[in-house]
C-alpha cells in the first residue's frame, strides 16, 4: 500500500432535510477528499430512497461541541427556571382554549 493510500480523507458529518418545512437532521458521516466529493458520496450513501431534498456536509473538525463533562455548568441555567414552561401556570379548568 502506498503512502497516499494510508493518508485518511477527512471526515465529514452529513445532515439531510427530509422534506420542505423540516430542519436538516444529522444522519451520519463519511470520508471524502473534498467538499464536492463529500456531497456526492452523501447522496449515494444517505439518500438512495428519497430520504431528502437537501444535503449539508461539514468537516467534522469544523464543529464545536459541548462536551458531556461540561454538562452541568452548561445546561444548569435552565434547570431552575421552571416558569419558562407552560405547565408552571395554574389556570382553572373552565377557561377554554388555554
Amino acid at each position: 500500500m502506498t503512502n497516499g493510500d494510508r493518508r485518511e480523507w477527512p471526515l465529514y458529518e452529513v445532515f439531510v432535510r427530509g422534506k420542505r418545512g423540516l430542519n436538516h437532521v444529522h444522519v451520519g458521516s463519511l470520508h471524502a477528499p473534498d467538499d464536492a466529493m463529500a456531497l456526492r458520496h452523501a447522496r449515494d450513501v444517505y439518500t438512495r430512497r428519497n430520504e431528502g431534498v437537501s444535503i449539508w456536509v461539514v468537516r467534522a473538525d469544523a464543529i464545536t461541541a459541548s462536551s458531556p463533562d461540561e454538562k452541568d455548568p452548561l445546561f444548569a441555567p435552565n434547570g431552575d427556571k421552571v416558569y419558562r414552561h407552560p405547565t408552571f401556570y395554574e389556570i382553572p379548568e373552565n377557561v377554554p382554549h388555554m
Binding site: R7, W9, V27, D34, P68
Partner: protein
C-alpha cells in the same frame, strides 16, 4: 469528626455509565465508557461492517447473468445497499476512536472476521432469492433488536439498515415465488438452493448459548438484547410457514411443531462445520478475501487521483 471521602473519579465515571445502561438510555461517543465495552463494540460493529462489504460478493456474482433487466436493476440496487450498510457501520465504529484505514486493514489481513454465511458459494440464480429470503431474513432477526442497542451510533445505523433489509428479503422471496410458478426444473433449482442455505442460515445466529462465552457480558451492557438461541428459534418459527407458502421443504427431519412449547422443534446445526468455516476453512474464505484485496488495490488509483485533485484545488485557492 466525620470526613466524607470523595469517590475516585474512575468510580464516579463507572457509576454514571452503569446508571445510563440501567435506565436503558444510550451511550454516546463522547461519554466515558469502560475500555472493555469499547473494545467489544469495536469488534462487533467492525465484523458487522466487514460482513456487509464481503456480503456484496456472493450476489454480485450474478449481476452480469441476471435473467432480465428488471432482475438486474434489483440486484444492483441490493448490492449497492450492502455497500451502504458497510459504510454506515464503519462510520459508527469510527466514533469509538478507530480509523477507517485500521478497520480496512484488519479485514484485508484476516485479523477480524465476517459472517460465516458469506463463505458459501452461490451456485445457481435461485441462490439470489434464497439469500434474500433466508440469509437476509436471519439478518433481520439479528438486527431488529440491535436498533435498541446501548451504543447510540450503532443503534442509529441499525435503524437505517433494517428499513432497507425489508426490501432485500421481499425481493428474494418474490424471486423464489416466481421460480416456483415456473417449470419443474426451476422448482428443483429453488429446492436445491434452500437445501444448501438452510443450515448455514441457522449458524448465522452464532454458537448455542452455553458455548457463547461473551454473550452474558454483552447482554449486561445492553449491546445484545437477545440470546443466540432465542433469535434462532424466532427465525425458525418465522421461516416454516414461509416455506410452506412457497412450496419448498426445509432439510431437517426433526423439524416439527411442539404444541407444548408453542414453537417448532428443530435439529442441531453441524457446529464442526461452523467452526471450520469461521476459522478460515469454508468453501470460499480464500476467494472472498483475495477478491476484496484485489478490489482495494485496483481502486488505489481512484483514491489517489481524488486526493491529488483535492490538493490541487486547495493550492489554486491559496494562489
Amino acid at each position: 469528626m466525620t470526613t466524607t471521602v470523595e469517590p475516585e473519579p474512575q468510580e464516579r465515571l463507572q457509576a454514571a455509565f452503569d446508571a445510563t445502561i440501567a435506565r436503558h438510555d444510550r451511550i454516546e461517543p463522547r461519554d466515558w465508557m469502560p475500555e472493555a465495552y469499547r473494545r467489544t463494540l469495536v469488534r462487533q460493529i467492525a465484523q458487522h461492517a466487514h460482513s456487509e462489504i464481503i456480503g456484496m460478493q456472493p450476489e454480485g456474482n450474478w449481476i452480469s447473468r441476471a435473467p432480465s433487466l428488471r432482475r438486474k436493476a434489483i440486484l444492483l440496487a441490493k448490492v449497492q445497499d450492502e455497500a451502504g450498510h458497510g459504510l454506515y457501520l464503519y462510520s459508527a465504529c469510527e466514533t469509538l476512536g478507530v480509523s477507517r484505514a485500521e478497520l480496512t486493514d484488519l479485514l484485508l489481513t484476516g485479523r477480524q472476521k465476517y459472517s460465516s454465511i458469506f463463505n458459501y458459494p452461490t451456485l445457481s440464480y435461485a441462490d439470489v432469492g434464497t439469500i434474500g429470503w433466508l440469509v437476509d431474513g436471519a439478518a433481520i432477526c439479528n438486527q431488529v433488536p440491535l436498533c435498541r442497542t446501548s451504543y447510540g451510533p450503532y443503534g442509529r445505523a441499525m435503524i437505517r439498515i433494517c428499513k432497507e433489509e425489508s426490501f432485500h428479503q421481499r425481493q428474494g422471496y418474490e424471486l423464489l415465488m416466481t421460480m416456483m410458478r415456473g417449470t419443474d426444473a426451476q422448482r428443483a433449482m429453488v429446492q436445491e438452493s434452500v437445501d444448501r442455505f438452510w443450515w448455514p442460515s441457522l449458524m448465522m445466529f452464532g454458537p448455542p448459548d452455553e458455548r457463547s462465552p461473551n454473550s452474558g457480558q454483552s447482554m449486561a451492557w445492553g449491546i445484545k438484547r437477545n440470546s443466540n438461541d432465542e433469535l434462532r428459534q424466532r427465525f425458525v418459527d418465522m421461516s416454516v410457514p414461509q416455506a410452506e407458502a412457497l412450496g419448498v421443504t426445509l432439510p431437517d427431519p426433526e423439524l416439527r411443531w411442539n404444541e407444548e412449547r408453542g414453537h417448532y422443534d428443530f435439529g442441531e446445526p453441524d457446529w464442526e462445520e461452523f467452526a471450520a468455516v469461521i476459522s478460515g476453512n469454508g468453501p470460499c474464505n480464500a476467494q472472498r478475501l483475495a477478491h476484496r484485496r484485489a478490489a482495494h488495490e485496483d481502486g488505489a488509483w481512484v483514491r489517489e487521483a481524488a486526493s491529488a485533485f483535492a490538493a490541487r484545488s486547495t493550492e489554486e485557492e491559496v494562489r
